[in-house]
């Protein structure tokens, strides 16, 4: 009988993911056994504890690099570590927002407006499943950018998506919309991951292996049926472009962003982008690097369309969350420019941009959770009029985030925009840069429109008010603000760290 060789797993390197998963399992246990009274605080502390612990571990292993952390199906390298760290950080801030349970229904299954629901709300109970769900999603997101074979990629993709589908449906107010968002997200997500899987199949067919480096090698060797490769690349891209919300795979974004509970939107908008782009970058940089003649034109076109579409349509939005959704589409376009650069500079720029954008997005949605009336959040732009008069501080914070999105100097957004465009230009994608510049001019229009609304128009007395945020919410928003400004004034430390750390190893 052949000798059995145990699989080598370097647990210290996988620890961050394992910790999060562990935390998630504990969370499930708590749901099962702990009494309703203590659940909320318990869940919250467990979740935050887990995330912090994982973050610490990530920091601990930041300089160790190996392709064989888990038998070659997951890698630990600078880029991966940075992504994981970023995701965890965003997750922590996100959980701070989620902790404000006002936004969540108590019994997700209850029929809207039913006796059951009203009772549950009066009982003042809280919904705590969201915490383990978040942790599962985080684990998936952390796995996504470091996985180096198609199997792990697919699993990670589903692992981050499935919890999000559910979380999208948990909003306490506007239940129908929330559920609809969940449905749409789920159906389309499943649809796109089917494409992803089909593409994976053909790549496997082309290369005879599921490992990215293997595929890369096969492309270099150029043996094998090119048709398989091309179909593979195309369909795999569909799955990934769907997650980042690139046109024409963007359609879910506005609906889901609007329907989902705002804290979830914040978390999802920020973290999912990082994870998805992490994977996208790895796949294109490691796997398809030598096939770039084939895919670069496509991605270029998609990037251009995405930038323009996002910016132009955002102008016509009347709902703040939808507007931010379209702006995130536009930003996906900008980020694709980083992918196109296909260079170290491009990688660094993309990572910086992802962090800057993620933090700002979290902050922006965080502010959105604060503007309410008796019936819940106000997302209708017209009712934001005169916010600057009602609560100058909150308005100023929001304005700062918007200016960061618009890429005004002295905010993180500007540095990000500059670095990513310069990287793209350096590698001859002038067209993307030009369009990018123009569309950010267009984009500026609607960011500024909101600022005008908040500061230059008089408040309408319709019960719209800014609630006094809970400590955690305040903490996360202010942190986001501080980082946005700091990265605008002194981006050097982070940039240096990124450029010294961020590499893909095969």
């Amino acid at each position: 009988m052949s000798s059995f060789t145990a699989p080598v797993l370097i647990y210290s390197l996988l620890a961050p993911i394992l910790i999060v998963l562990g935390g998630a399992v504990i969370g499930v246990m708590i749901e099962a056994f702990a009494s309703r009274k203590i659940r909320p605080v318990l869940q919250l502390s467990v979740t935050i504890g887990t995330l912090v612990l994982a973050f610490a571990q990530v920091w601990h292993i930041r300089h160790q690099e190996t392709a064989s952390a888990a038998m070659g199906s997951a890698v630990v390298d600078g880029a991966g570590v940075l992504m994981q760290g970023a995701i965890l950080f965003i997750a922590i801030l996100g959980v701070f927002l989620i902790a404000d349970q006002e936004n969540f229904t108590v019994i997700a299954a209850a029929v809207p407006g039913s006796e059951e629901e009203t009772q549950s709300i009066q009982s003042g109970e809280q919904l705590t499943e969201v915490y383990p769900l978040t942790l599962f999603a985080v684990a998936g997101m952390m796995l996504f950018p470091v996985s180096t074979d198609l199997i792990t990629l697919f699993v990670a993709l589903e692992m981050l998506s499935l919890p999000l589908y559910l979380m999208a449906g948990l909003s306490r107010r506007r239940r129908l919309m929330s559920q609809e968002a969940a449905l749409k997200y789920f159906l389309l997500g499943a649809f796109s991951s089917a494409f992803f899987l089909f593409g994976a199949a053909y790549l496997y067919g082309y290369a005879g292996t599921v490992s990215l480096s293997g595929i890369g090698a096969a492309i270099t060797a150029a043996n094998g049926n090119t048709v398989f490769l091309l179909i593979g690349i195309a369909f795999l891209s569909v799955g990934l472009l769907f997650k980042i919300g690139a046109v024409p795979f963007h359609a879910w974004t506005p609906d889901v962003y609007q329907g989902a509970p705002t804290p979830i939107t914040a978390f999802m908008a920020a973290a999912t982008k990082i994870a998805a782009f992490g994977a996208l970058l790895r796949i294109f940089y490691v796997g398809f690097e030598n096939a770039y003649w084939d895919w670069r034109p496509l991605i270029t076109v998609i990037a251009i369309i995405t930038m323009l579409f996002g910016s132009v349509v955002a102008i016509a939005q009347r709902d703040i969350k939808r507007m931010l959704a379209y702006s995130s589409i536009a930003h996906a376009g900008f980020l694709l420019a980083g992918v196109l650069a296909l260079s170290k500079a491009g990688l660094d720029a993309s990572i910086f941009y992802l962090i800057a954008y993620g933090v700002a997005t979290l902050g922006a949605f965080g502010v959105v959770t604060l503007v309410r009336d008796s019936s819940g959040e106000i997302t209708d732009l017209n009712r934001w009029a005169g916010l600057g008069k009602r609560s100058p501080f909150v308005a100023t914070l929001f304005a700062t985030f918007l200016l960061a999105f618009a890429g005004i100097p002295l905010t993180s957004g500007f540095i990000g925009k500059f670095s990513i465009f310069s990287a793209a230009y350096e590698n001859g994608n002038k067209s993307v840069v030009i369009v990018g510049v123009l569309s950010s001019a267009i984009a500026a229009y609607f960011y500024i429109r909101v600022i005008v609304l908040m500061f230059f128009s008089d408040p309408v007395e319709d019960g719209t008010s800014v609630i006094i945020p809970s400590f955690l919410t305040r903490l996360s928003i202010v942190t986001a603000f501080a980082i946005t400004i700091f990265l605008g004034l002194f981006p050097a430390p982070l940039l240096n760290f990124i450029s010294s750390t961020a590499i893909f190893i095969r």
Binding site: L183, K184, L187, L188, F191, S192, F195, T226, L230, I231, I233, A234, F235, S237, V238, L241, F242, P248, F249, A251, W252, P254, D255, W293, D294, W295, P297, L298, V301, F309, V312, V313, A314, I315, A316, Q317, I442, Y445
Partner: protein, 629 residues
Amino acid sequence: MTSNYLVYLIALPLFGSALLLLAGRKADKWGHLLGTAMSGGAFVIGLYEFTQMLGRSNEQRAVTQKLFNWISVGSFQVDAGLMLDQLSICFVLLITGVGTLIHIYSIAYMSHDLDRRRFFAFLNLFIAAMLLLVLGDSYLNLYVGWEGVGLASYLLIGFWNQKPTYATAAKKAFVANRVGDMGLSLAIMISFATLGTVSFAGVKEHAGQASTGALTAIGIMLLVAATGKSAQFPLQAWLGDAMAGPTPVSALIHAATMVTAGVYLITRSNFIFDAAPTAQLCVAIIGAITLLFGAVVGTAKDDIKKALAASTMSQIGYMILGAGLGPAGYAFAIMHLLTHGFFKAGMFLGAGSVMHGMDDEVNMRRYGGLGKFMPITFATFGLGYLAIIGVPPFAGFYSKDKIIEVAFNAGGIKGITLGSAALLGAAITAFYMTRVVILTFVGNKRWAEKAHPHESPALMWLPMVLLAVGSVASGFIFTHGNSLKNWLAPVVEQSPVHEGELLKPAVVSVLALVLVILGVGLAVLKYVRKDIPLVAPSDVSIFTRIARRDLLQDDFNEALFMKTGQGITRALVVTDKSIVDGAVRGVARLVRGSGSALRLTQTGFVRSYAMWILVGAIGLVAAIWVVTL
């Protein structure tokens, strides 16, 4: 030679005006005295410099004073420098002398005006600017004075600008002058571009090497400047309206000094015009046209000041004509300028005194027989009258005849035309001046009941008397032994005495006299012992009507410049709103529109979203296929 006192010529009146303007009402009590003192002080300095000059040999007379380096950029170097030579001293004495007299006159004339202090401030400002004009040692310095006097004249014409028409007159004068100034600044640019300098000395030195074309260009531009400032055709329209200013202003600025700046400019630039015959000819022609133009307008005016203004225009025409006749003419142009300074100033002051006695009535049809009520005014005015129509031995006789003579001696068609124009002008002058005198001082009285004419106070008639003396004696003094001609010789170097004279001087004088007598006679027949209607008869020939409308100069300008200008303005305002800014707004609207249009793609139906994805996927495959082919 240098002198350290030149700057004080300008500094004194400048200080005066600054002080009077800043001191405000506090200075009301002594403001007029200070102003007069400053002007007088300048006159004294002028006299001092003059005596100094007399002490030196003819070549050594010019003195200069460099104050500081004004503008220095690369090769463009302009000093704030002053130069007093034989030409400028004439002006200095005229400006400060007549100026001081008019200051004195104004003390009484303006005594009832609340803003008398401001009036004197402006007068001093004018004196300073005018002195800078004639003392500057480069075209740019001259330019400063040039616009300075323009400003002063604007302020003084509009001194009573609460009356809209007066304000308009002031604006009109400034704008017309600006058109001229444009010529001057272009002339300066051209001379810098061609000669590399703008100082009189420099230009004079290098003028020889420059091409005739360039010099002609400079000359024409200088002429444009002159027409603006000296109310010559075609920029003459403003002078008549300028009579809106208080009468002393008309006497000082719009008769004696400022309006003659053009003559100074051309004489000063003799080295350019002598090298650019075409330009010189233009000068002469402009002069000839204007002298007739002014004379004709003069015949139709009922407003005494406007009549005198027209006559001024015509007399300056003579001067310009003289200056346009080259070396032979410069001296006489200047001579006529000086004599004219005396008699025209005198007559204006006379007119002022009449108005003073007739509570500011200016319509000569409402005068008549004033001679016995204001004898001194009549006498001084009469002397001035004799001078201007050129009756020997009064001043005008010498200066004007000389110009006519030189004009004839220019020779050929040119000589004949110019000469006869000048002669004709003399006749018309005689006619309309006689008309003025008759309507005003002789004949039956036609004034309103409430008016009770009286002679003006001594402060007013004293200057008039002095000026009258000037208008009697000056001509003889200047011509005696060609004094002025020789005096100016170093500045306007004489060309060797030119071709055989067409007409003997005596002949010219006789011709002129005959024509003058004709003019006078005609006027006498037409206006003496005949009752003059109080309102100008309307059943008159088309020519009269045209003449009354200043030969349609305003209608012309209005139709050609104002109307088109307003048209352009209106058109551009619309263009800016609808086209230029419209384009901007259009782009914005386009973007917004496409936004709202694309928004509709978000139907809300999950199946259509799936369709997008499917189409996208197929598109990707297809595209990637195409790319790899």
